[in-house]
């Protein structure tokens, strides 16, 4: 199946000469939830803004549903709903009129039933006659979501939708995202909460300094993260690994004081019992042990770190 969004070599250099996007290529499949992770200033919002025509790209191309966003902009944009990071909303208009306006702006006929459905799903129905300025920050953010959903987009961009949203509401929001996905809506979200990406996304992209460092199925990432390490601090330094232990995925620390064993927590057998028995048989005693699970955060930080290092090296070269 053709991707719903196809990004090719997208670059953006702002007027000041700052390059916020540096050759991003990415295909987004229809119906998936893609989470974009990256530190502040990584270029997440710039990427979304280039796709949604808020920022003119300096190079590269974007197609949405096969329509180029520059040459065939009407067809491309009519598929997209955008919830921006900044809460910008007409203060004096009522919630209901603001949301209806968005639908009209996209050229769709009025559909009170759909508007009601959206407002109810976002717990805004009771507030529909309030003016936007009378809403709390979290409610305003939900109005933005309602605006984006009012025109029934095929692709929904959520730029940090849960920033400043309380725990209960965050849950509601994720339920909504799931139900949208069930309807076949493609969702691209950015977040700083790694658990959120872990919980929601089908695929996770990591972006830093305008470069897409990785895009991976979450399950593949989780595999990497399912890895656990058992470190044994030995009673006496070990010069060499005994042959009896060669079958295990063991690494000996440089000073020989510790052994690290890598295993998969979700495997049928982790092999820990057998390892410990074999160690005892080989006469290796240990003082202490610790286990450590690698998280998405580790993967993320490692990537960002490596990315930063390779950029400085390029710069130096």
């Amino acid at each position: 199946m053709a991707p719903i969004i196809s990004i090719r070599d997208l670059t953006k250099t702002y007027d000041g000469g700052f390059t916020a996007l540096d050759g991003v290529s990415l295909d987004i499949e229809e119906g998936e939830i893609l989470a974009l992770l990256g530190p502040n200033g990584a270029g997440k919002t710039t990427l979304i803004s280039c796709i949604c025509a808020l920022v003119s790209p300096s190079g590269g191309s974007v197609a949405v549903g096969g329509h180029d966003t520059l040459t065939d902009f009407r067809a491309a944009r009519s598929l997209i709903g955008l919830v921006p990071q900044e809460v910008s909303i007409e203060p004096f208009e009522t919630v209901e009129n603001t949301v209806k306006f968005s639908r009209g702006l996209f050229g769709l006929p009025p559909d009170p039933a759909h508007i009601e459905k959206v407002l109810r799903a976002l717990s805004l129905w009771d507030k529909r006659s309030n003016r936007n300025m009378e809403l709390s920050g979290g409610m305003k953010r939900r109005v933005l979501i309602a605006k984006a959903l009012s025109h029934e987009p095929r692709v929904l961009f959520l730029d940090e939708p849960t920033a400043g949203v309380d725990v209960a509401l965050r849950k509601d929001m994720w339920d909504l995202v799931r139900s949208l996905r069930a309807e076949g809506v493609t969702i691209i979200l950015t977040t700083h909460y790694i658990e959120e990406a872990e919980e929601m996304a089908d695929r996770i992209g990591v972006i830093d300094s305008g470069k897409l460092l990785l895009v991976e199925q979450k399950s593949v990432l989780m595999q990497k993260m399912g890895q656990k390490e058992l470190t044994l601090h030995l009673a006496a330094p070990l010069a060499d690994l005994p042959a009896a232990l060669a079958d295990y995925d063991l690494t000996r620390s440089e000073d020989g004081q510790a052994l690290t064993y890598r295993y998969d927590t979700r495997a049928q057998r982790t092999g820990i019992t057998r390892l410990l028995a074999d160690l005892a048989a080989a006469g290796i005693a240990f003082r202490d042990l610790e286990t450590r699970q690698s998280s998405l955060e580790d993967v993320f930080l490692t990537l960002v770190d490596e990315g930063a290092r390779s950029t400085t090296q390029e710069g130096a070269a």
């Binding site: 808020l54 909303i89 007409e90 203060p91 968005s102 009209g104 702006l105």
Partner: protein, 253 residues
Amino acid sequence: MNWRSISSIYRFEMARTFRTLTQSILSPVLSTVLYFVVFGSAIGGRIETVEGIPYGAFIVPGLVMLTVLQQAVSNASFGIYFPKFIGTIYELLSAPLSFVEIVIGYVGAAATKALMISLIILATSTLFVDLSIAHPFYMLGFLILTCISFALLGFIIGIWAGNFEQLQLIPLLVITPLVFLGGAFYSVDMLPPFWAAVSHFNPVLYLISGFRWAFFEASDVPVGASLAAIMVFLTLCLGIIWAIFRTGWRIKP
């Protein structure tokens, strides 16, 4: 052309007008009444007629033009500056709209509001003076063209402005003086020859003159020149707006 989108913008903007009905309609009407009192009664007592027209009636077209220019420019400039200022412009840019539709929606609403106010002022003026309109269709045509072209100018100003002061700058510094010097309250023939000649470089003179001609068949410049002037101005504004949207100037980084 996406008429549904245009009408959404138009109705949203008109709703803003009606939300603030008192200040958006009452205040221009009130200030016009003041002009009548000051110019019509006080000065009109000394100047009986201009070009054979009672002074009170003579100033009506100029007064209407003054309000139309101010209103069209300020409505349109505010209309587009506000979304830029509060950030809601993101929605206009990401919607499946071309710039033509955005302009028609905003400029249409601003021009409509200016037209409404000018008609109310015209009606109000009949309370003070006897007014006859020689060419009602020309009158309306001039009025509508002026509303549209100055709403276009306002739109440009709204996009250009980086803060609220700049938003006020051009109406205050350029438009109001041009109206006052464009024969709103006098005929340029009453000026010394040098200043009468200089006045002919004032584009607003052509508007007021043409508009006045529609009432009294008396004008400072030929009516054809007035029509030509407004068409040139309209085309100029359209060209600038077209260039703005092509380049994304002051809208897109």
